[in-house]
Protein backbone atom coordinates (compact mmCIF):
# COMPACT_ATOMS: atom_id res chain seq x y z
CA UNK A 1 0.00 0.00 0.00
CA UNK A 2 1.36 3.38 -0.98
CA UNK A 3 0.94 6.39 1.21
CA UNK A 4 -0.31 8.56 -1.68
CA UNK A 5 -2.87 5.97 -2.75
CA UNK A 6 -5.97 7.97 -3.78
CA UNK A 7 -8.22 5.19 -2.48
CA UNK A 8 -6.74 5.55 0.99
CA UNK A 9 -9.32 6.87 3.39
CA UNK A 10 -7.81 9.16 5.96
CA UNK A 11 -9.40 9.44 9.36
CA UNK A 12 -8.71 12.41 11.55
CA UNK A 13 -9.74 12.68 15.20
CA UNK A 14 -12.91 14.70 15.67
CA UNK A 15 -12.50 18.28 16.77
CA UNK A 16 -13.81 18.64 20.27
CA UNK A 17 -15.48 21.78 21.49
CA UNK A 18 -14.47 23.41 24.74
CA UNK A 19 -17.24 21.71 26.69
CA UNK A 20 -16.56 18.30 25.16
CA UNK A 21 -12.91 18.65 26.08
CA UNK A 22 -13.86 18.73 29.76
CA UNK A 23 -15.14 15.15 29.39
CA UNK A 24 -17.44 15.74 32.34
CA UNK A 25 -20.52 14.56 30.47
CA UNK A 26 -18.71 11.46 29.23
CA UNK A 27 -17.47 10.67 32.73
CA UNK A 28 -20.99 10.94 34.11
CA UNK A 29 -22.29 8.74 31.29
CA UNK A 30 -19.61 6.19 32.06
CA UNK A 31 -20.50 6.24 35.73
CA UNK A 32 -24.14 5.67 34.81
CA UNK A 33 -23.20 2.65 32.70
CA UNK A 34 -21.16 1.00 35.45
CA UNK A 35 -23.75 2.06 38.01
CA UNK A 36 -26.45 0.28 36.03
CA UNK A 37 -24.36 -2.86 35.90
CA UNK A 38 -23.70 -2.73 39.64
CA UNK A 39 -27.34 -2.10 40.45
CA UNK A 40 -28.33 -4.92 38.09
CA UNK A 41 -26.14 -7.44 39.87
CA UNK A 42 -26.99 -6.14 43.33
CA UNK A 43 -30.79 -5.96 42.97
CA UNK A 44 -31.94 -7.72 39.81
CA UNK A 45 -29.64 -10.74 39.58
CA UNK A 46 -28.21 -9.94 36.17
CA UNK A 47 -24.82 -11.47 36.93
CA UNK A 48 -23.54 -13.91 34.34
CA UNK A 49 -21.47 -15.94 36.79
CA UNK A 50 -22.16 -19.66 36.86
CA UNK A 51 -21.11 -20.94 40.28
CA UNK A 52 -19.52 -24.04 38.90
CA UNK A 53 -19.64 -26.95 41.30
CA UNK A 54 -23.21 -26.15 42.32
CA UNK A 55 -24.42 -24.90 38.95
CA UNK A 56 -23.42 -26.31 35.59
CA UNK A 57 -22.74 -24.17 32.60
CA UNK A 58 -24.68 -25.24 29.52
CA UNK A 59 -22.38 -25.12 26.52
CA UNK A 60 -23.57 -24.08 23.10
CA UNK A 61 -24.91 -26.73 20.71
CA UNK A 62 -21.70 -26.91 18.70
CA UNK A 63 -19.44 -27.28 21.73
CA UNK A 64 -16.78 -29.94 21.30
CA UNK A 65 -16.19 -31.92 24.47
CA UNK A 66 -15.57 -35.56 25.34
CA UNK A 67 -15.99 -38.09 22.52
CA UNK A 68 -18.56 -40.80 22.41
CA UNK A 69 -18.90 -43.93 20.30
CA UNK A 70 -22.45 -44.20 19.03
CA UNK A 71 -24.45 -47.41 19.14
CA UNK A 72 -26.99 -48.41 16.55
CA UNK A 73 -30.56 -49.43 17.40
CA UNK A 74 -29.45 -53.00 18.16
CA UNK A 75 -26.97 -51.75 20.72
CA UNK A 76 -23.93 -52.59 18.59
CA UNK A 77 -21.10 -50.13 18.12
CA UNK A 78 -21.67 -48.24 14.85
CA UNK A 79 -17.97 -48.03 14.07
CA UNK A 80 -16.83 -50.10 11.07
CA UNK A 81 -13.11 -49.68 11.83
CA UNK A 82 -12.41 -47.85 8.58
CA UNK A 83 -9.63 -45.83 10.24
CA UNK A 84 -10.74 -42.58 8.63
CA UNK A 85 -10.95 -40.81 11.99
CA UNK A 86 -7.53 -42.04 13.08
CA UNK A 87 -6.13 -40.83 9.75
CA UNK A 88 -7.83 -37.47 9.97
CA UNK A 89 -6.77 -36.89 13.55
CA UNK A 90 -4.06 -34.19 13.62
CA UNK A 91 -2.99 -35.15 17.13
CA UNK A 92 -2.80 -38.90 16.45
CA UNK A 93 -4.75 -39.64 19.58
CA UNK A 94 -7.06 -42.35 18.16
CA UNK A 95 -5.86 -45.96 18.19
CA UNK A 96 -8.12 -48.57 16.56
CA UNK A 97 -7.51 -52.29 16.32
CA UNK A 98 -9.84 -53.69 13.70
CA UNK A 99 -11.22 -57.21 13.76
CA UNK A 100 -13.45 -59.24 11.43
CA UNK A 101 -17.07 -58.61 12.25
CA UNK A 102 -19.03 -61.56 13.74
CA UNK A 103 -21.16 -63.53 11.30
CA UNK A 104 -24.29 -62.25 13.01
CA UNK A 105 -23.45 -58.69 11.79
CA UNK A 106 -24.20 -58.99 8.07
CA UNK A 107 -24.02 -55.25 7.37
CA UNK A 108 -20.24 -54.89 7.74
CA UNK A 109 -16.94 -56.64 7.34
CA UNK A 110 -14.98 -55.12 10.20
CA UNK A 111 -15.61 -53.79 13.66
CA UNK A 112 -13.22 -52.22 16.21
CA UNK A 113 -11.84 -54.80 18.62
CA UNK A 114 -10.34 -51.97 20.55
CA UNK A 115 -10.97 -48.27 20.14
CA UNK A 116 -8.82 -46.03 22.33
CA UNK A 117 -8.72 -42.23 22.46
CA UNK A 118 -6.09 -40.44 24.49
CA UNK A 119 -8.15 -37.54 25.78
CA UNK A 120 -4.98 -35.74 26.88
CA UNK A 121 -3.52 -35.70 23.38
CA UNK A 122 -6.81 -34.80 21.73
CA UNK A 123 -7.16 -31.16 20.70
CA UNK A 124 -10.95 -31.40 20.34
CA UNK A 125 -10.93 -30.18 16.73
CA UNK A 126 -13.79 -32.43 15.65
CA UNK A 127 -12.05 -33.73 12.52
CA UNK A 128 -12.78 -37.35 13.52
CA UNK A 129 -16.45 -36.51 13.69
CA UNK A 130 -16.31 -34.94 10.23
CA UNK A 131 -14.33 -37.82 8.76
CA UNK A 132 -16.58 -40.59 10.06
CA UNK A 133 -18.74 -42.04 7.24
CA UNK A 134 -21.15 -43.86 9.56
CA UNK A 135 -21.62 -41.20 12.25
CA UNK A 136 -20.05 -43.43 14.84
CA UNK A 137 -17.79 -40.98 16.63
CA UNK A 138 -19.12 -37.70 17.97
CA UNK A 139 -18.02 -34.96 20.31
CA UNK A 140 -20.46 -34.32 23.15
CA UNK A 141 -21.07 -31.25 25.27
CA UNK A 142 -19.41 -32.76 28.33
CA UNK A 143 -16.65 -30.44 29.44
CA UNK A 144 -15.81 -31.37 33.03
CA UNK A 145 -13.29 -33.96 31.98
CA UNK A 146 -10.96 -34.75 34.84
CA UNK A 147 -8.81 -37.62 35.95
CA UNK A 148 -6.38 -38.43 38.71
CA UNK A 149 -3.80 -40.03 36.42
CA UNK A 150 -2.82 -40.09 32.77
CA UNK A 151 -4.10 -43.65 32.50
CA UNK A 152 -7.57 -42.53 33.57
CA UNK A 153 -7.65 -40.09 30.69
CA UNK A 154 -7.10 -42.77 28.06
CA UNK A 155 -10.64 -43.75 27.11
CA UNK A 156 -11.18 -47.24 25.77
CA UNK A 157 -14.16 -48.59 23.84
CA UNK A 158 -16.21 -49.45 26.92
CA UNK A 159 -15.73 -46.00 28.35
CA UNK A 160 -16.53 -44.27 25.05
CA UNK A 161 -19.68 -46.36 24.66
CA UNK A 162 -20.69 -45.50 28.22
CA UNK A 163 -20.37 -41.82 27.32
CA UNK A 164 -22.94 -42.52 24.61
CA UNK A 165 -25.25 -44.09 27.20
CA UNK A 166 -24.83 -41.00 29.36
CA UNK A 167 -25.57 -38.51 26.63
CA UNK A 168 -27.83 -40.27 24.16
CA UNK A 169 -31.01 -38.76 25.59
CA UNK A 170 -29.54 -35.34 26.10
CA UNK A 171 -27.84 -34.83 22.78
CA UNK A 172 -29.12 -35.51 19.29
CA UNK A 173 -27.12 -37.34 16.71
CA UNK A 174 -25.28 -34.64 14.92
CA UNK A 175 -26.61 -35.11 11.43
CA UNK A 176 -30.12 -36.24 12.28
CA UNK A 177 -32.99 -34.12 13.38
CA UNK A 178 -33.20 -33.65 17.13
CA UNK A 179 -35.78 -35.85 18.84
CA UNK A 180 -39.02 -33.98 19.40
CA UNK A 181 -39.37 -32.49 22.83
CA UNK A 182 -35.77 -32.84 23.95
CA UNK A 183 -33.60 -29.80 24.45
CA UNK A 184 -30.71 -29.65 22.05
CA UNK A 185 -28.15 -29.86 24.82
CA UNK A 186 -28.40 -30.73 28.41
CA UNK A 187 -25.70 -31.30 30.91
CA UNK A 188 -25.01 -34.78 32.10
CA UNK A 189 -22.19 -35.22 34.56
CA UNK A 190 -19.51 -37.72 33.68
CA UNK A 191 -19.06 -38.49 37.33
CA UNK A 192 -22.62 -39.48 38.13
Amino acid sequence: MRLDDPNLKRVSPPKLSWVENLYLKQIVQGLIVTGKHMAGVAFFGTEITVQYPEMQHIPSANYRGVHRLNKDDQGRVRCVACMLCATACPAHCIDIVAGTAPDSWPDREKYPESFVIDELRCIYCGMCEEACPVEAIELTGLYDLTGLSREQMIFDKTKLLSVFDLTKDAEPMRYNKPPVGTPSTEVVSLHS
Binding site: I27, L31, T34, M38, T46, I48, T49, Q51
Partner: protein, 348 residues
Protein backbone atom coordinates in the same frame (compact mmCIF):
# COMPACT_ATOMS: atom_id res chain seq x y z
CA UNK B 1 -0.68 16.48 81.19
CA UNK B 2 -1.98 13.94 83.61
CA UNK B 3 -1.36 10.24 83.47
CA UNK B 4 -4.98 9.56 82.57
CA UNK B 5 -4.95 12.05 79.72
CA UNK B 6 -1.98 10.22 78.21
CA UNK B 7 -3.78 6.91 78.70
CA UNK B 8 -6.80 8.33 76.93
CA UNK B 9 -4.72 9.44 73.97
CA UNK B 10 -3.01 6.06 73.73
CA UNK B 11 -6.44 4.45 73.84
CA UNK B 12 -7.68 6.74 71.07
CA UNK B 13 -4.64 5.92 68.94
CA UNK B 14 -5.29 2.24 69.51
CA UNK B 15 -8.94 2.57 68.50
CA UNK B 16 -8.18 4.65 65.42
CA UNK B 17 -5.35 2.39 64.26
CA UNK B 18 -7.34 -0.76 64.90
CA UNK B 19 -10.52 0.49 63.27
CA UNK B 20 -8.75 1.92 60.24
CA UNK B 21 -6.70 -1.25 59.66
CA UNK B 22 -9.82 -3.37 59.94
CA UNK B 23 -11.66 -0.98 57.67
CA UNK B 24 -8.88 -1.27 55.11
CA UNK B 25 -9.11 -5.05 55.17
CA UNK B 26 -12.81 -4.81 54.45
CA UNK B 27 -12.34 -2.04 51.89
CA UNK B 28 -10.31 -4.49 49.85
CA UNK B 29 -13.25 -6.89 49.98
CA UNK B 30 -15.60 -4.04 49.02
CA UNK B 31 -13.30 -3.08 46.18
CA UNK B 32 -13.35 -6.63 44.85
CA UNK B 33 -17.12 -6.78 45.18
CA UNK B 34 -17.56 -3.44 43.41
CA UNK B 35 -15.22 -4.61 40.66
CA UNK B 36 -17.18 -7.82 40.29
CA UNK B 37 -20.57 -6.11 40.27
CA UNK B 38 -19.44 -3.55 37.70
CA UNK B 39 -18.35 -6.42 35.48
CA UNK B 40 -21.53 -8.49 35.99
CA UNK B 41 -19.76 -10.97 38.25
CA UNK B 42 -20.45 -12.01 41.84
CA UNK B 43 -17.03 -11.62 43.42
CA UNK B 44 -15.59 -13.42 46.42
CA UNK B 45 -18.37 -15.36 48.15
CA UNK B 46 -16.78 -18.60 49.34
CA UNK B 47 -14.99 -17.57 52.56
CA UNK B 48 -17.79 -17.20 55.08
CA UNK B 49 -21.26 -15.79 54.38
CA UNK B 50 -21.12 -13.38 51.40
CA UNK B 51 -17.33 -13.73 51.48
CA UNK B 52 -17.12 -11.78 54.72
CA UNK B 53 -14.16 -13.82 55.96
CA UNK B 54 -12.23 -13.10 52.77
CA UNK B 55 -10.15 -10.27 54.36
CA UNK B 56 -9.01 -12.68 57.08
CA UNK B 57 -8.01 -15.24 54.47
CA UNK B 58 -6.22 -12.58 52.46
CA UNK B 59 -4.41 -11.30 55.54
CA UNK B 60 -3.38 -14.81 56.58
CA UNK B 61 -2.12 -15.43 53.07
CA UNK B 62 -0.08 -12.21 53.11
CA UNK B 63 1.54 -13.11 56.43
CA UNK B 64 2.22 -16.75 55.62
CA UNK B 65 3.68 -16.20 52.17
CA UNK B 66 7.43 -16.35 51.65
CA UNK B 67 8.96 -12.91 52.04
CA UNK B 68 11.40 -12.78 49.16
CA UNK B 69 14.09 -10.11 49.24
CA UNK B 70 15.94 -10.22 45.90
CA UNK B 71 19.74 -10.24 46.17
CA UNK B 72 20.17 -7.17 43.96
CA UNK B 73 18.05 -4.72 45.95
CA UNK B 74 19.28 -1.92 48.18
CA UNK B 75 18.31 -3.71 51.34
CA UNK B 76 17.87 -0.96 53.96
CA UNK B 77 15.82 1.24 51.63
CA UNK B 78 13.93 -1.78 50.32
CA UNK B 79 12.77 -2.62 53.84
CA UNK B 80 12.22 1.01 54.78
CA UNK B 81 9.96 1.86 51.82
CA UNK B 82 6.80 -0.07 52.78
CA UNK B 83 7.24 1.11 56.38
CA UNK B 84 7.28 4.72 55.21
CA UNK B 85 4.27 4.13 52.99
CA UNK B 86 2.17 2.79 55.82
CA UNK B 87 3.42 5.14 58.56
CA UNK B 88 2.87 8.23 56.41
CA UNK B 89 -0.66 7.05 55.73
CA UNK B 90 -1.31 6.25 59.41
CA UNK B 91 -0.09 9.41 61.11
CA UNK B 92 -2.25 11.58 58.89
CA UNK B 93 -5.15 10.43 61.06
CA UNK B 94 -3.73 12.30 64.05
CA UNK B 95 -5.55 15.53 63.24
CA UNK B 96 -8.62 14.16 61.48
CA UNK B 97 -11.72 14.81 63.60
CA UNK B 98 -13.86 11.70 63.57
CA UNK B 99 -16.72 13.35 65.39
CA UNK B 100 -17.42 16.34 67.60
CA UNK B 101 -14.37 18.10 68.99
CA UNK B 102 -14.13 20.98 71.44
CA UNK B 103 -17.07 22.42 73.32
CA UNK B 104 -19.58 19.94 71.93
CA UNK B 105 -17.52 16.86 72.73
CA UNK B 106 -19.04 14.47 75.29
CA UNK B 107 -17.88 14.43 78.94
CA UNK B 108 -15.79 11.73 80.50
CA UNK B 109 -16.57 10.44 84.00
CA UNK B 110 -14.47 13.04 85.77
CA UNK B 111 -15.84 15.89 83.71
CA UNK B 112 -13.02 16.19 81.22
CA UNK B 113 -13.96 16.26 77.55
CA UNK B 114 -13.35 13.40 75.17
CA UNK B 115 -12.55 14.80 71.76
CA UNK B 116 -13.10 12.59 68.74
CA UNK B 117 -9.65 13.44 67.49
CA UNK B 118 -6.25 12.12 68.50
CA UNK B 119 -4.61 15.55 68.64
CA UNK B 120 -7.41 18.06 69.26
CA UNK B 121 -6.99 21.79 68.93
CA UNK B 122 -4.26 21.80 66.30
CA UNK B 123 -4.89 24.96 64.29
CA UNK B 124 -2.86 23.88 61.23
CA UNK B 125 -4.70 20.60 60.71
CA UNK B 126 -4.89 20.80 56.92
CA UNK B 127 -1.26 21.77 56.53
CA UNK B 128 -0.27 18.81 58.68
CA UNK B 129 -2.35 16.37 56.61
CA UNK B 130 -0.88 17.71 53.37
CA UNK B 131 2.66 17.57 54.72
CA UNK B 132 2.21 13.97 55.81
CA UNK B 133 0.45 13.12 52.57
CA UNK B 134 3.41 14.28 50.54
CA UNK B 135 5.69 12.20 52.76
CA UNK B 136 3.81 9.20 51.41
CA UNK B 137 5.46 9.68 48.05
CA UNK B 138 8.78 8.72 49.65
CA UNK B 139 7.48 5.22 50.16
CA UNK B 140 6.78 4.85 46.45
CA UNK B 141 9.93 6.59 45.26
CA UNK B 142 12.21 4.68 47.61
CA UNK B 143 10.55 1.41 46.69
CA UNK B 144 11.13 2.14 43.02
CA UNK B 145 14.74 3.13 43.65
CA UNK B 146 15.63 0.33 46.05
CA UNK B 147 14.14 -2.40 43.86
CA UNK B 148 16.98 -1.89 41.38
CA UNK B 149 14.60 -2.75 38.57
CA UNK B 150 13.81 -0.66 35.50
CA UNK B 151 10.06 -0.98 35.75
CA UNK B 152 9.95 -0.21 39.44
CA UNK B 153 12.21 2.74 38.87
CA UNK B 154 9.96 4.09 36.11
CA UNK B 155 7.03 3.70 38.49
CA UNK B 156 8.91 5.65 41.12
CA UNK B 157 9.77 8.45 38.70
CA UNK B 158 6.20 8.70 37.51
CA UNK B 159 4.98 8.76 41.06
CA UNK B 160 7.28 11.57 42.12
CA UNK B 161 6.41 13.70 39.09
CA UNK B 162 2.71 13.01 39.44
CA UNK B 163 2.45 13.60 43.16
CA UNK B 164 4.53 16.77 43.06
CA UNK B 165 2.38 18.12 40.22
CA UNK B 166 -0.90 17.34 41.91
CA UNK B 167 0.17 18.67 45.31
CA UNK B 168 -0.22 22.15 43.86
CA UNK B 169 -3.86 22.00 42.75
CA UNK B 170 -4.63 19.98 45.87
CA UNK B 171 -3.23 22.69 48.08
CA UNK B 172 -4.73 25.57 46.10
CA UNK B 173 -8.18 24.03 45.85
CA UNK B 174 -8.70 24.28 49.60
CA UNK B 175 -7.53 27.89 49.83
CA UNK B 176 -11.04 29.03 48.92
CA UNK B 177 -12.50 27.14 51.87
CA UNK B 178 -9.73 28.43 54.15
CA UNK B 179 -10.46 32.01 53.08
CA UNK B 180 -14.17 31.61 53.68
CA UNK B 181 -13.88 29.92 57.06
CA UNK B 182 -10.83 31.90 58.13
CA UNK B 183 -9.17 28.89 59.70
CA UNK B 184 -6.85 26.00 58.90
CA UNK B 185 -8.29 23.96 61.76
CA UNK B 186 -10.43 21.14 60.37
CA UNK B 187 -12.86 21.43 63.27
CA UNK B 188 -13.48 25.15 62.77
CA UNK B 189 -14.12 24.45 59.10
CA UNK B 190 -16.84 21.96 60.04
CA UNK B 191 -18.36 24.43 62.49
CA UNK B 192 -18.39 27.17 59.85
CA UNK B 193 -20.19 24.86 57.43
CA UNK B 194 -22.67 23.95 60.15
CA UNK B 195 -23.56 27.58 60.79
CA UNK B 196 -23.47 28.58 57.10
CA UNK B 197 -23.68 26.10 54.21
CA UNK B 198 -21.72 23.09 53.02
CA UNK B 199 -18.47 23.80 51.28
CA UNK B 200 -19.59 22.18 48.03
CA UNK B 201 -22.25 24.89 47.64
CA UNK B 202 -19.87 27.82 47.98
CA UNK B 203 -16.82 26.15 46.44
CA UNK B 204 -18.01 23.79 43.67
CA UNK B 205 -14.87 24.32 41.57
CA UNK B 206 -12.68 23.88 44.62
CA UNK B 207 -14.47 20.61 45.35
CA UNK B 208 -13.95 19.33 41.82
CA UNK B 209 -10.27 20.29 41.88
CA UNK B 210 -9.77 18.69 45.27
CA UNK B 211 -11.56 15.52 44.18
CA UNK B 212 -9.45 15.14 41.02
CA UNK B 213 -6.19 15.93 42.80
CA UNK B 214 -7.23 13.61 45.61
CA UNK B 215 -7.57 10.76 43.13
CA UNK B 216 -4.09 11.57 41.85
CA UNK B 217 -2.64 11.83 45.36
CA UNK B 218 -3.95 8.41 46.34
CA UNK B 219 -2.61 6.79 43.14
CA UNK B 220 -6.08 5.57 42.34
CA UNK B 221 -7.36 5.00 38.85
CA UNK B 222 -7.55 6.94 36.54
CA UNK B 223 -4.25 8.22 37.96
CA UNK B 224 -2.53 4.97 38.94
CA UNK B 225 0.44 5.49 36.65
CA UNK B 226 3.03 4.47 39.26
CA UNK B 227 1.46 1.03 39.28
CA UNK B 228 0.14 0.57 35.73
CA UNK B 229 0.04 -3.20 35.68
CA UNK B 230 0.03 -3.35 31.90
CA UNK B 231 3.12 -1.27 31.16
CA UNK B 232 5.17 -1.50 34.35
CA UNK B 233 4.29 -4.98 35.65
CA UNK B 234 3.05 -3.43 38.88
CA UNK B 235 5.51 -0.54 38.97
CA UNK B 236 7.09 0.27 42.29
CA UNK B 237 5.87 -2.87 44.07
CA UNK B 238 7.02 -5.38 41.44
CA UNK B 239 9.82 -6.74 43.61
CA UNK B 240 7.81 -6.87 46.81
CA UNK B 241 6.14 -9.96 48.16
CA UNK B 242 4.18 -11.12 51.20
CA UNK B 243 3.35 -8.55 53.87
CA UNK B 244 5.67 -5.90 52.43
CA UNK B 245 3.47 -5.92 49.35
CA UNK B 246 0.42 -5.89 51.60
CA UNK B 247 1.74 -2.84 53.45
CA UNK B 248 1.75 -0.82 50.23
CA UNK B 249 -1.88 -1.74 49.76
CA UNK B 250 -2.71 -0.88 53.35
CA UNK B 251 -1.02 2.48 52.80
CA UNK B 252 -2.96 3.12 49.61
CA UNK B 253 -6.32 2.35 51.18
CA UNK B 254 -5.48 4.36 54.30
CA UNK B 255 -4.76 7.25 51.97
CA UNK B 256 -8.13 6.75 50.35
CA UNK B 257 -9.79 6.94 53.77
CA UNK B 258 -7.83 10.07 54.72
CA UNK B 259 -8.68 11.83 51.47
CA UNK B 260 -12.33 10.84 51.84
CA UNK B 261 -12.36 12.27 55.38
CA UNK B 262 -10.79 15.47 54.10
CA UNK B 263 -13.36 15.81 51.32
CA UNK B 264 -16.18 15.22 53.79
CA UNK B 265 -14.72 17.70 56.26
CA UNK B 266 -13.95 20.39 53.72
CA UNK B 267 -16.89 20.15 51.35
CA UNK B 268 -19.65 17.98 52.81
CA UNK B 269 -19.93 19.59 56.22
CA UNK B 270 -18.19 16.88 58.26
CA UNK B 271 -20.75 15.55 60.75
CA UNK B 272 -23.29 18.18 59.74
CA UNK B 273 -26.74 17.39 58.40
CA UNK B 274 -28.78 20.57 57.88
CA UNK B 275 -31.65 20.97 60.40
CA UNK B 276 -30.77 17.68 62.14
CA UNK B 277 -27.32 17.99 63.63
CA UNK B 278 -25.72 21.22 64.79
CA UNK B 279 -23.10 22.56 67.17
CA UNK B 280 -25.46 23.07 70.10
CA UNK B 281 -26.06 19.38 70.64
CA UNK B 282 -23.82 17.83 73.28
CA UNK B 283 -23.57 14.51 75.04
CA UNK B 284 -22.77 10.95 74.11
CA UNK B 285 -25.83 10.27 71.96
CA UNK B 286 -25.25 13.20 69.62
CA UNK B 287 -21.52 12.54 69.60
CA UNK B 288 -22.07 9.04 68.31
CA UNK B 289 -24.70 10.26 65.86
CA UNK B 290 -22.26 12.77 64.45
CA UNK B 291 -19.42 10.26 64.27
CA UNK B 292 -21.63 7.77 62.42
CA UNK B 293 -22.97 10.41 60.02
CA UNK B 294 -19.41 11.32 59.20
CA UNK B 295 -18.46 7.67 58.78
CA UNK B 296 -21.43 7.17 56.48
CA UNK B 297 -20.43 10.10 54.30
CA UNK B 298 -16.86 8.79 54.15
CA UNK B 299 -18.16 5.35 53.21
CA UNK B 300 -20.18 6.81 50.36
CA UNK B 301 -17.15 8.72 49.09
CA UNK B 302 -14.95 5.64 49.27
CA UNK B 303 -17.58 3.78 47.27
CA UNK B 304 -17.61 6.61 44.75
CA UNK B 305 -13.82 6.43 44.44
CA UNK B 306 -14.06 2.69 43.73
CA UNK B 307 -16.91 3.26 41.30
CA UNK B 308 -14.75 5.71 39.36
CA UNK B 309 -11.90 3.23 39.37
CA UNK B 310 -13.97 0.65 37.51
CA UNK B 311 -15.34 3.24 35.09
CA UNK B 312 -12.48 5.35 33.79
CA UNK B 313 -9.41 4.16 31.92
CA UNK B 314 -5.92 5.27 32.92
CA UNK B 315 -4.46 8.56 31.70
CA UNK B 316 -1.56 8.66 29.34
CA UNK B 317 1.47 10.20 31.01
CA UNK B 318 1.57 13.42 28.96
CA UNK B 319 -2.17 14.01 29.32
CA UNK B 320 -1.80 13.52 33.06
CA UNK B 321 0.79 16.27 33.26
CA UNK B 322 -1.24 18.45 30.92
CA UNK B 323 -4.30 18.09 33.10
CA UNK B 324 -2.40 19.18 36.19
CA UNK B 325 -0.35 22.06 34.80
CA UNK B 326 -2.56 23.40 32.02
CA UNK B 327 -6.02 22.92 33.48
CA UNK B 328 -6.15 22.31 37.21
CA UNK B 329 -3.55 24.80 38.39
CA UNK B 330 -4.84 27.78 36.33
CA UNK B 331 -8.38 26.91 37.38
CA UNK B 332 -7.28 26.74 41.00
CA UNK B 333 -5.63 30.15 40.74
CA UNK B 334 -8.74 31.67 39.17
CA UNK B 335 -10.92 30.09 41.83
CA UNK B 336 -8.64 31.36 44.57
CA UNK B 337 -8.55 34.93 43.25
CA UNK B 338 -12.31 35.02 42.72
CA UNK B 339 -12.96 33.73 46.22
CA UNK B 340 -10.49 36.18 47.70
CA UNK B 341 -12.15 39.06 45.86
CA UNK B 342 -15.62 38.04 47.01
CA UNK B 343 -14.51 37.54 50.59
CA UNK B 344 -12.79 40.91 50.55
CA UNK B 345 -15.83 42.69 49.09
CA UNK B 346 -18.50 40.98 51.15
CA UNK B 347 -16.81 40.66 54.54
CA UNK B 348 -15.11 44.05 54.69
Amino acid sequence: MTFWAICLIVLKIGVVVGVSQGAVAYLILVERKVAAYAQDRIGPNRAGPFGLLQPLADGAKMILKEDVIPSYVDKPLYILAPAIAIIAAMIGFAVVPFGPVGATAPDFLDGSRIDFQIAPGIDIGILYVFAIGSLGVYGVVLAGWASNNKYSFLGGIRSSAQLISYEIPLGMSILGMVLLTGSLDLNSIINWQDSHVWGIVVQPIGFLLFLISGFAETNRLPFDLPESEQELVGGFHTEYSAMKFGMFFLGEYLHVITVSYLIVILFFGGWDIPFLLDQTQTGWFWAFMKASVMLGKVGMLVFFIMWVRWTLPRFRYDTLMELAWKSLIPLAIVNFIATAAIVQLVYS
